[in-house]
């Protein structure tokens, strides 16, 4: 039986959303290719997760070992390469997440298989995998292709495919013996650490004024801060601002920061890298100010303003003050 293989991703005893997204994508591919949808679950004492997965896969391969309790790219690589070598799936789907980024390249190298990373959508034929990805910071779409005749691997961007939500399958759970996991002790999981979050909680704000690279200089941050204050809002930012240490991590919106859903989100000089957009796309209304009319932020914004944010900020601030005084 032909097979589509999906790696189930979980952390701290919970299946991550990307798993359901990949199963949804895997279901489509499996139907088209008349293949079985199989998911592999490496872990330790995760039988309940296997049962959950069986509602959306034909087969769950449960690989339990104490050494698989936390993610380790070396251990996972051995589990997957053993399974892929014996089962020969047409394609293996892995999340383009902190886990998948650590795992997929080494796995592909070990198997000598083509790997398409950070894919938004996939099309599969007998011979070829075609994937759509974004390049140049989301400003260009690229269609890439690789052979799938001897198998291939794709990592899928989180938050792009909608999960099915309901039960689609009544799959079997099969317990698989873990491979020897030799040599994995050269890489050791120690612990999880929460990034230092203190002071502000941007997830509670009704209105967020968020700044990006366009703010240009640390000296300019008070201008945005004053605007946020005038609007009764909270100041947030995209990754480059935290990288430059201009604002603490607690202010960061996006994949590695916080996910926010304020009533209004005003993005100032944020180009709209995907990692930022995932963290704010469900805001009530999104207003983006950017000099570049092709900035990807305008794809997700409800309203766009193409101008210099330094012209715009003081005018909006005065307008807000005026309105609030009139109350």
């Amino acid at each position: 039986m032909r097979e589509i293989l999906v790696l189930a991703e979980h952390r701290k005893g919970v299946l991550r959303d990307i798993t359901w997204e990949m199963l949804s994508l895997g279901k489509e591919l499996a139907e088209k290719m008349e293949a079985q949808l199989t998911t592999v679950l490496p872990g330790y004492e995760v039988k309940s997760l296997a049962d959950e997965l069986s509602t959306q896969a034909d087969l769950v391969l449960l690989v339990e070992d104490e050494r698989l309790q936390n993610f380790s790219s070396m251990a996972y690589q051995q589990v997957l390469s053993t399974l892929i070598t014996t089962r020969k799936p047409i394609i293996t789907l892995i999340g383009h997440t902190a886990c998948g980024i650590d795992l997929a390249p080494g796995l592909a190298a070990a198997l000598g298989m083509p790997l398409a990373t950070d894919c938004l959508s996939l099309t599969l034929t007998e011979k070829e995998l075609t994937a759509v990805r974004q390049i140049y910071g989301g400003k260009v779409n690229a269609e890439v292709a690789c052979s799938c005749e001897k198998g291939c691997i794709a990592t899928i961007r989180a938050g792009v495919v909608s999960p099915w939500g309901e039960e689609t399958r009544k799959g079997k759970v099969e317990v698989i013996q873990s491979p020897s996991l030799e040599g994995i002790s050269r890489q050791r999981f120690i612990e999880y650490v929460e990034a230092a979050i203190g002071g502000v909680d941007i997830t509670q704000a009704d209105i967020i004024v968020a700044i990006g690279r366009g703010i240009q200089d640390k000296e300019n941050i008070p201008l945005a801060e004053e605007l946020a204050k005038a609007l009764g809002g909270t100041l947030a930012c995209s990754r480059p601002i935290v990288d430059k240490k201009w604002l603490p991590k607690a202010h960061q919106v996006g994949t590695s920061g916080k996910t926010v859903r304020p009533k209004a989100y005003i993005a100032l000089g944020i180009s709209g890298a995907f990692q930022h957009i995932v963290g704010m796309k469900d805001s009530g209304v999104i207003i983006a100010v950017n000099k570049d009319p092709r900035a990807p932020i305008f794809e997700v914004a409800d309203y766009g303003i193409v101008c210099d944010l330094f012209d715009f900020m003081p005018v909006l601030k005065e307008k807000a003050k005026e309105l609030l005084q009139r109350r």
Partner: protein, 263 residues
């Protein structure tokens, strides 16, 4: 502590209007300013900091189809001790597998404790080279690294996970780390600094020096090939507000009010 850091030059496309080339497989780069890939800049800085703290050497390595001497001069000016550039036209259109193969050929004969790459490149964003390279070198690796502490023959690193969570991982050395932005504050390099570094050792090799065969190079060796590029439509989702700044601000205020804020 001998550290090898792999670097790439990329065009700055942030505020540029991009045009796709006639063959549909790349963008026109003529007008664009090229510089060191953002992630690589942090990787170079991290390597130099570790060397300054612990001694040893930093070697910057680039595999490129273009004349990227300036890229490596910049790394030398930042504090790298030597640089190696492998230039070959056939690297144009190479996928991560081919680049990692070439890097492997350079690095396998050099002594090293750590190899750094950026997490990904600003242009193609595959995030693959470091992981593949570690596989070829048969050493442990960690990606998305935001902190490194060197211990006795091992390193303890922080990896950035999702939702403000980190994971602490230990790797025996030698090891490969892919470096995330924000791990440090990269130093500024002046023109003077670049001039001063001109005397540092820079080796330019070609692919035959590395013993790479044609089958291992370029588009034909790449397992993943670009079929075509397209530009997403401009401002698809957003309604673009027009008028004077004052008029726009008034519109924004009324939008905010209608959403129940600023009311």
């Amino acid at each position: 502590m001998d550290i090898i850091v792999c670097v790439k030059k990329v065009p700055d496309t942030r505020e540029a209007e991009l045009i796709i080339t006639k063959d549909g497989k790349d963008i026109e780069k003529g007008e664009l300013v090229c510089d060191i890939n953002e992630w690589d800049r942090y990787a170079v800085e991290e390597a130099i900091r570790l060397k300054e703290e612990l001694g040893g050497s930093v070697t910057a390595v680039a595999v490129t189809p273009d004349e990227d001497e300036d890229l490596l001069r910049k790394c030398l000016a930042m504090g790298a001790d030597r640089a190696i550039m492998v230039k070959d036209e056939s690297f144009r259109g190479s996928d991560a597998h081919v680049i990692a193969t070439a890097l492997h050929h350079i690095i396998k004969d050099l002594p090293f404790d750590l190899v750094f790459t950026g997490v990904q490149a600003e242009d193609d964003g595959y995030a693959q080279v470091g992981g593949i390279l570690a596989g070829f070198l048969k050493v442990p690796h960690a990606t998305l690294v935001t902190q490194i502490e060197v211990l006795e023959r091992k390193v303890q690193v922080h990896r950035e996970l999702e939702e403000a969570l980190m994971e602490v991982v230990e790797l025996d050395m030698p090891a490969v780390c892919t470096i995330q932005t924000g791990i440090n504050e990269p130093r500024y390099v002046s023109i003077m600094g670049i001039r001063k570094a001109a005397k540092k050792e820079m080796k330019t090799l070609n692919t035959s020096d590395l013993g790479l065969t044609e089958e291992e190079l370029g588009d034909s060796a790449s397992k993943v090939k670009i079929k075509g590029l397209s530009l997403p439509p401009s401002g698809k989702g957003a309604e673009i507000l027009k008028g004077s700044t004052g008029e726009i601000a008034t519109k924004v205020a009324s939008i905010l009010k209608s959403k129940g804020v600023l009311a």
